[in-house]
C-alpha cells in the first residue's frame, strides 16, 4: 500500500536515487543530522534507500549545547530505535572561550559553534561528502544551489565554480581536500516535508506542536525559555503561552509562533493559510541582505 501522492512519490524516488549515488561514489559520506523535521525526513529516506541494510554512513550532529532538551531526547530515541551510528561534535575551542548565543550574540555563536564546528568535524573524520537537509525553497540564495554542491579545500563555496547538473547525472568526482555537500531534499518544499512526514508517520520533535510554554517577548518574537541559562532582562517576566516552532535551531535563536496546532493535520492546515515564511523565526537570517549567501560562502550549511 502506498498512500503517497504522485508528487511525493516522485520526490521520494529522486531523493533515494541521490542517497544511493553518494553511497556508491564517495569514500566517506556522512549525514548531517540537525534533529529538525527535514533531518527526520532525510534519515527516513536513508532507511528506505538501503533497506534491508542500514544506511552505510553515520549521522553527525553538531551540538552547539544550546539545543532544546526535547531535541536531544528525540535524537537519542531515533538513533536507538534504528540502531544507527551517531557522532556528536561540539567545538571545544568555543566551549573554552565561553561562546554562547546569550554572551556572544547570534552571529559569533553561529560562526563558532555551527560553521567552525562543522568544518572541524568533517576534517577530523575525513568525510568527503556530507548530506544536508537544506531545501531550495527555503531562501533565495539556495534556489541556485546544486544537489551536489562542490566545496574547495577549506570547505569554501564558490557560486561561480559550481558544476552544471543535468538529468540525474551527478558529478561526484573530487580531488584530495575537496568535499561535497549533497542535498537530497533540494526539490522539496516545506509543505512537501510535512505532508510526507504525515503520510509516512515519521516522528518529529514535540516542539513543532503547540503546547503551553514559558516565553518572553523580544524584538516582537516569542522566545521560549528552555532553562535558566537565558537571563531575564530588566522587567521581563516569563509567561505561559500556547506556542510552537516552525523551524528549530538553537535556543534562544529560534522564535516560536502563537498556535493551536497540536497535530500534523493542524500544522498542515495552519500552513495552508499561513502568511509568514518558515525561516522568519530564524534570527540569524535577517542580519543583513543576502546574509545566507554570505554564510554559505563561509561554509555554513
Amino acid at each position: 500500500m502506498n498512500t503517497l501522492s504522485p508528487h511525493l512519490q516522485r520526490l521520494e524516488a529522486e531523493a533515494i536515487h541521490i542517497l544511493r549515488e553518494v553511497a556508491a561514489e564517495c569514500a566517506h559520506p556522512v549525514m548531517l543530522y540537525s534533529i529538525g523535521k527535514d533531518s527526520g525526513v532525510m534519515v527516513h529516506l536513508a532507511l528506505k534507500a538501503f533497506f534491508p541494510a542500514k544506511p552505510p554512513f553515520p549521522l553527525l550532529h553538531v551540538d552547539t549545547q544550546w539545543k532544546f532538551r526535547e531535541m536531544i531526547e528525540h535524537r537519542d530515541a531515533l538513533v536507538a530505535q534504528h540502531g544507527l551510528e551517531l557522532l556528536v561534535h561540539t567545538n571545544p575551542e568555543g566551549i573554552a572561550r565561553g561562546i554562547s548565543p546569550v554572551a556572544s550574540g547570534s552571529s559569533v555563536h553561529t560562526q563558532v559553534m555551527k560553521t567552525d564546528a562543522l568544518k572541524q568535524a568533517l576534517d577530523h573524520y575525513g568525510f568527503d561528502a556530507a548530506f544536508g537537509g537544506a531545501r531550495r525553497d527555503e531562501e533565495k540564495s539556495r534556489a541556485k544551489e546544486r544537489v551536489f554542491s562542490f566545496r574547495a579545500p577549506g570547505h569554501v563555496w564558490d557560486p561561480r565554480r559550481q558544476r552544471p547538473e543535468l538529468w540525474n547525472l551527478y558529478n561526484s568526482r573530487i580531488r584530495l581536500g575537496e568535499t561535497l555537500r549533497v542535498f537530497p531534499l533540494s526539490n522539496w518544499t516545506e509543505m512537501d516535508v510535512w505532508e510526507y512526514t504525515r503520510a509516512e508517520g515519521i516522528p518529529v520533535v514535540p516542539l513543532y506542536f503547540a503546547a503551553p510554554r514559558p516565553v518572553v517577548k523580544r524584538e516582537g518574537q516569542w522566545i521560549v525559555r528552555d532553562d535558566e541559562r537565558l537571563p531575564l532582562l530588566a522587567g521581563e517576566q516569563p509567561e505561559m503561552r500556547r506556542v510552537r516552532f516552525r523551524s528549530l535551531g538553537c535556543y534562544p535563536l529560534s522564535a516560536a509562533i502563537d498556535s493551536d496546532a497540536d497535530t500534523l493535520d493542524d500544522i498542515i492546515e495552519e500552513m495552508r493559510v499561513s502568511r509568514s515564511s518558515e525561516r522568519a523565526g530564524r534570527l540569524i537570517d535577517s542580519d543583513e541582505a543576502a546574509s545566507m549567501e554570505k554564510k554559505k560562502r563561509e561554509g555554513y550549511f
Binding site: 536515487h17 543535468l166 568526482r173
Partner: protein, 624 residues
C-alpha cells in the same frame, strides 16, 4: 489554437492529483522571464508576508518598475545578479496551485548561458518560451526552441508577453503564433500553444484578461495545470541501470537503482547488457514491502535468481529488447567549459550509472544554434553544439536519447579538474562492438620477448623544448644497443616530418600528435622493442592516455627537468628567440603551458650533469 488536452486524470484528480510538473522558462534577456515567474508565485498565493515585505524593500532599492512591485526581484537570487539585473545561473522555484505542484527552472537568455538553459531543460517536462510582443521572434527565440527540442522537450507553451504595450494586440499575436508554428514544424513538439500575456500586470497568467477579449483560450497557468505529460516511458522497453549493490549479509544481494524506462515485474527474465548473461528477477524489494512490478521513475532494489557478475554501471533489460552495446557512437554534444574540446583527449563519460573513459574521435559538424546551419569544425567552444563521433576503450550500453533519455544522456568530465565540461545526447551506435573481434595471433608479444631475451618497454621522455630529452634518449639508445637490446627512438621532430606532418601546434593538434605516437609506441612494444619516445608532450591528460595503453611496469615516464631559463639560454634551435619575438605561436613555456608530471618514474635534473651521466642513471633504473 489547439484545444486543451484531455487528461485521463481530469475527473478523478483530487488536490495535486496530477502530480508534479517541472518546466523551464526561456526567452531572450528582456522578455520578462523573472517577472513572469514572480507573477505566478504571487498569483498562486505562494508568497508569505515577510517575503512580500522584503520584496517591497528590494523594489525600492534595485527595482526597475518605478512605484510598482518588481516581481523579478523574487527570483534573481545571488547578490551579483541582483546588482547587474541579470540571471546568470539556473534558479529553481516552487509553487503549487490547487490542481498541480510546479518546479520552475529559471534560465538565462544570453547565448553565453546556453549551457545553463540546457541544464534547466534536461530535467523539465515542458517549456514556457517567452516572446516580447513588440519584438516578435528573435534569433534567441529560435535558439531556445532548438535547444528545447535538442534536450528532448515535447511540450512548449509560448507566452507572448508585454501584449499590453502593442497597439493591435490581436494581429501581432496571430502573426507571432504563425511564425512560431512555421519555424518549429520540424522540431518534434507534441504540444505547441500560444497565450497573449502581460506578466507585469497579470493578464492571462492565472486569470483570463478582460483587456484582451479577442483571446478566449486558457490562461498560461491553465495550460500548465492541464498539460498531459503522461508520456509512454512505461510502454518503452525496460532499462534498469544498476546504481548500487546492496549486500548487508551473505543471504541478501540486491541491485538498487531507478527504473529509467519500461516496467520490471517479479518473474521477468532479464539480461545484463554488457555480458549478455541472462537471469530472472526474483523480488522487487522496497522498505514498504515487495512489489509485483516497478515502473519508470521508481527507485527499487531487485534480487535475481542467479549469482552472476553485476556491478554499478551495468544495465538490465529484457532479453528481446536490449540496448546497443557499442564502443563507438554518434551524439550531439554541448560544450560547457571555458577550455575548448580537444578531440582525441580522453575525458570521463558518465552515462546512466556507468563512468568510462571516452574520446571524441571526430566532429561531424557543428550546429549554429541560431540558424541551425551545419558548419565544419575541428573543436567545440563554450556553448557550442556539435554532432560528434565518440569512442570508448570498452563497450558500453547506449540507447538513442530521444527514446531512452535515461540511457542515452551523458556528461563529460575533465580528468584533471573533475569539472563537468560537456553534455551529450546519443543518436545511434556506430558499430556493435560484438561484431569486431580482435584477431587472436599465435606469435604474440611474450613469444617475441623470449626470442629477444629482454622485456619490451616504452620509455617516455617529457620536458620543455631544449631540455635535453633527445640528447639523453640518444645516449641511452647507444648503451642499450651495445647490450644487444632491440630499440627504436621516436623523436618529436622526426615524427612531424612524416606520420604527423598534417598536424600543427594548436592544443587540439598536440593532443592528436601524442595520441598517434602513443599508438605507434604501443605497436612497437608489442613487436618486442624497447621504444624511446622523446616528445615535449606538455599535457598531463595525454601522457596519462598513453600510459593507459600499456600495462603496469611497461611504461616509464622520464621527466627531463630543466628550468625554462636554462632552456632559453641553451636554445639549440633558436626557437625560444623566435617565440619571444612573437614570430612563433603556441610555443610551450612561452605562450602555451607545460604541465610537469606529478609522479614520473624518474626525474632527471640536467643541471650539473652530462647527458651520458643521465643515461647511466636511467640505465640503472630500467632493469633491462
Amino acid at each position: 489554437m489547439q484545444a486543451l488536452p484531455d487528461s485521463p486524470l481530469a475527473s478523478d484528480a483530487p488536490k495535486a492529483g496530477r502530480g508534479l510538473l517541472r518546466f523551464l522558462t526561456c526567452g531572450s534577456v528582456d522578455d520578462g522571464k523573472s517577472t513572469l515567474i514572480g507573477r505566478l508565485l504571487y498569483d498562486c498565493g505562494n508568497l508569505p508576508d515577510d517575503q512580500l515585505a522584503a520584496l517591497e524593500r528590494d523594489s525600492r532599492k534595485h527595482g526597475t518598475t518605478g512605484e510598482d512591485l518588481d516581481l523579478a526581484l523574487l527570483v534573481d537570487g545571488l547578490e551579483a545578479e541582483r546588482e547587474q539585473g541579470i540571471t546568470i545561473d539556473v534558479a529553481y522555484r516552487y509553487f503549487s496551485s490547487p490542481r498541480r505542484a510546479f518546479i520552475v527552472a529559471d534560465t538565462p537568455g544570453h547565448e553565453q548561458y546556453t549551457r545553463n538553459m540546457a541544464t534547466g531543460a534536461s530535467n523539465a517536462d515542458a517549456a514556457v518560451l517567452l516572446v516580447d510582443a513588440r519584438k516578435g521572434l528573435l534569433v534567441q527565440t529560435r535558439r531556445h526552441a532548438y535547444l528545447c527540442s535538442l534536450l528532448g522537450l515535447r511540450h512548449v507553451v509560448v507566452a507572448v508577453n508585454k501584449i499590453d504595450l502593442v497597439a493591435d494586440g490581436e494581429s501581432v499575436f496571430q502573426q507571432i503564433e504563425a511564425d512560431i508554428r512555421a519555424f518549429t514544424a520540424s522540431l518534434g513538439f507534441i504540444t505547441l500553444a500560444a497565450v497573449p500575456v502581460s506578466a507585469r500586470f497579470g493578464d492571462n497568467i492565472s486569470t483570463p484578461s478582460s483587456r484582451l477579449p479577442w483571446y478566449t483560450g486558457p490562461t498560461l497557468l491553465g495550460w500548465l495545470e492541464t498539460l498531459d505529460i503522461t508520456h509512454d516511458r512505461d510502454h518503452s522497453p525496460l532499462r534498469f541501470p544498476v546504481q548500487y549493490v546492496n549486500r548487508p549479509n551473505v543471504d541478501f544481494r540486491g541491485y538498487a537503482g531507478t527504473v529509467s524506462s519500461g516496467v520490471v515485474r517479479a518473474g521477468d527474465p532479464v539480461v545484463v547488457a554488457g555480458s549478455g548473461r541472462q537471469t530472472v528477477v526474483t523480488r522487487i524489494v522496497t522498505a514498504d514491502g515487495d512489489l509485483l512490478e516497478a515502473r519508470a521513475g521508481q527507485a527499487v532494489t531487485l534480487t535475481l535468481e542467479d549469482e552472476i557478475d553485476i556491478a554499478r554501471g551495468d544495465v538490465l533489460s529484457a532479453p528481446d529488447t536490449r540496448p546497443e552495446v557499442a564502443d563507438q557512437f554518434a551524439a550531439h554534444l554541448l560544450w560547457m567549459a571555458e577550455e575548448e574540446l580537444l578531440p582525441g583527449r580522453p575525458y570521463l563519460m558518465r552515462l546512466g550509472t556507468a563512468t568510462v573513459p571516452v574520446r571524441v574521435t571526430s566532429i561531424r559538424h557543428k550546429v549554429d544554434v541560431n540558424s541551425l546551419e551545419h558548419l565544419a569544425a575541428r573543436t567545440l567552444h563554450l556553448n557550442e553544439v556539435g554532432f560528434c563521433n565518440l569512442s570508448t576503450p570498452t563497450p558500453v550500453a547506449v540507447d538513442p536519447y530521444t527514446e531512452f533519455p535515461g540511457t542515452g544522456a551523458f556528461i563529460l568530465i575533465d580528468r584533471q579538474t573533475n569539472a563537468t565540461v560537456g553534455a551529450g545526447m546519443v543518436s545511434f551506435a556506430l558499430r556493435r562492438a560484438t561484431n569486431v573481434h580482435r584477431q587472436a595471433l599465435t606469435v604474440d608479444r611474450v613469444a617475441r620477448e623470449q626470442l629477444n631475451a629482454h622485456p619490451a618497454k616504452a620509455i617516455w621522455f617529457t620536458g620543455l623544448s631544449g631540455s635535453g630529452k633527445s640528447t639523453i634518449a640518444n645516449a641511452l639508445e647507444q648503451r642499450l644497443h651495445a647490450q644487444g637490446i632491440h630499440t627504436y627512438l621516436l623523436d618529436g621532430d622526426n615524427v612531424r616530418h612524416g606520420l604527423n606532418r598534417d598536424l600543427g601546434f594548436t592544443d587540439a593538434d598536440r593532443v592528436e600528435n601524442i595520441r598517434r605516437v602513443g599508438e605507434v609506441a604501443k605497436l612497437m612494444t608489442d613487436a618486442g622493442l624497447v621504444v624511446l619516445c622523446s616528445f615535449i608532450s606538455p599535457f598531463r591528460a595525454e601522457r596519462q592516455m598513453v600510459r593507459e595503453l600499456f600495462s603496469a611496469g611497461e611504461f616509464v615516464e622520464v621527466f627531463v627537468d630543466t628550468p625554462i631559463e636554462e632552456c632559453i639560454q641553451r636554445d639549440p634551435k633558436g626557437l625560444y628567440a623566435r617565440a619571444q619575438a612573437g614570430k612563433l605561436k603556441n610555443f610551450t613555456g612561452i605562450d602555451s603551458p607545460y604541465e610537469a608530471p606529478e609522479h614520473p618514474e624518474l626525474r632527471i635534473d640536467t643541471q650539473g650533469r652530462t647527458p651520458e651521466q643521465a643515461a647511466d642513471q636511467l640505465l640503472g633504473v630500467l632493469g633491462l
